[in-house]
Symmetry: C2
Subunit: 231 residues, 2 copies
């Protein structure tokens, strides 16, 4: 579905939603496309119900229905595409429609921080053990990647963003530009540009995407820009 | 502009192109939106003319024109956004419209290889020295990231993909799934799923995006899927 605002839906996405008999999704995401799902069977539920939603979608498809499962951002980047492909029996056909992922939406608001090599790391340790996230943050720091942090903090997970900041400060200058974007291209966007040394002073929650620069990232006319070696 | 097929253009992208007085871009990209730029001033040129195109766009904007600079994929990921922000004087306003990047488009064709943490690395050493690309490939391998390779090979750069494969084989099993997608969602898409040990037997060129799995990537019903720890 892309970031959330309907002007960032691709034509193809609108087309498949309109053709669907049933739409299945996380309730906050289904709400973003309410006007497109009138007169359709809609199955929506809360967080951590991903597996049940996928099973429900498969059940409806097995009844012969044309089913759309919606994810915000890109369904293939921390979205529903993987779980659906894991669970769907071979008699059913799955088509993945890519979207504008949160990294792209947040980057476009900040400037051009991802114009060169970057790494994307989710700080949620619900499905990935922290030891592995820790290893990846260290690797991304060593490689001087620009780094996008998804799911930086939630009500129940407060400290991961602090640990991540501490790890990255081993490799990156405290003055490295950091962009913090809340609700990127979804209603009321809020963006702050700060530094790695000061980022923990800012408001960060589960609707936030955090982008940390590499050693070539600068602030130019108020925008966060990673130089790519032109000139 | 997204991957290329117009059904993957966002509504916002179509709107700003239609509102523009002038459209500036790489000639192959402008060709993909020919029907949208009729009756507009169009400035298109070849590869390695990026800086001249940006300067031309700024010149037209300084004349008071509303100018759109197009990039395929996401303009903020190896696209034109960074260079434009570096060169544009503060009196002009720049808005970046995000798009579906090639990693998302290629992943959606292969299955869901990027459903967990991943790194994006361009193998082009025109603007980034090979020592840095080499360091990033090693870091991405150490971190067990799924890895997206942009610009894997061109007419003039043949060996970088071979070096990259050799580096990644230090960290990843030769049986690691690899997806190779040519022209992802742009006309005639061609996709192959192979392994890290055998990937160099496939056709790889500058229109190709290569995605290398992490240690949780499997082939399920012919699709490349990175497991994310559900169940």
């Amino acid at each position: 579905m892309g970031p959330g605002d309907q002007e960032f839906l691709a034509g193809k996405t609108i087309e498949v939603i309109k053709m669907a008999d049933a739409v299945v999704g996380y309730k906050s995401y289904v709400k973003l496309i309410e006007n497109l799902v009138e007169n359709k069977k809609v199955v929506s539920s809360g967080m951590k119900q991903e597996q049940k939603r996928a099973e429900k979608a498969i059940e409806l498809a097995n009844e012969g229905k044309n089913v759309v499962v919606v994810s915000s951002g890109d369904p293939g980047i921390y979205g529903m595409a993987g779980l659906l492909l894991e669970l769907t029996p071979p008699n059913l056909e799955v088509e993945i429609i890519p979207g504008i992922t949160a990294a792209s939406a947040a980057a476009s608001i900040l400037g051009a921080p991802l114009i060169n090599d970057f790494a994307v790391v989710s700080l949620s340790d619900l499905l990935t053990p922290w030891e592995l996230i820790n290893k990846r943050l260290n690797a991304a720091g060593q490689g001087d990647f620009a780094i996008v942090l998804y799911n930086p903090r939630s009500q129940g997970r407060r400290e991961q963003i602090e640990w991540a900041c501490e790890i990255l400060l081993k490799y990156k200058d405290p003055k490295t530009p950091v962009g913090i974007v809340r609700n990127a291209k979804r209603g009321e966007t809020k963006a702050v540009i700060t530094t790695l040394g000061k980022m923990l002073q800012e408001e960060i929650d589960m609707l936030t995407t955090v982008i940390i620069g590499n050693s070539d990232t600068r602030i130019i006319n108020g925008k966060m820009v990673t130089a790519r070696g032109y000139k």
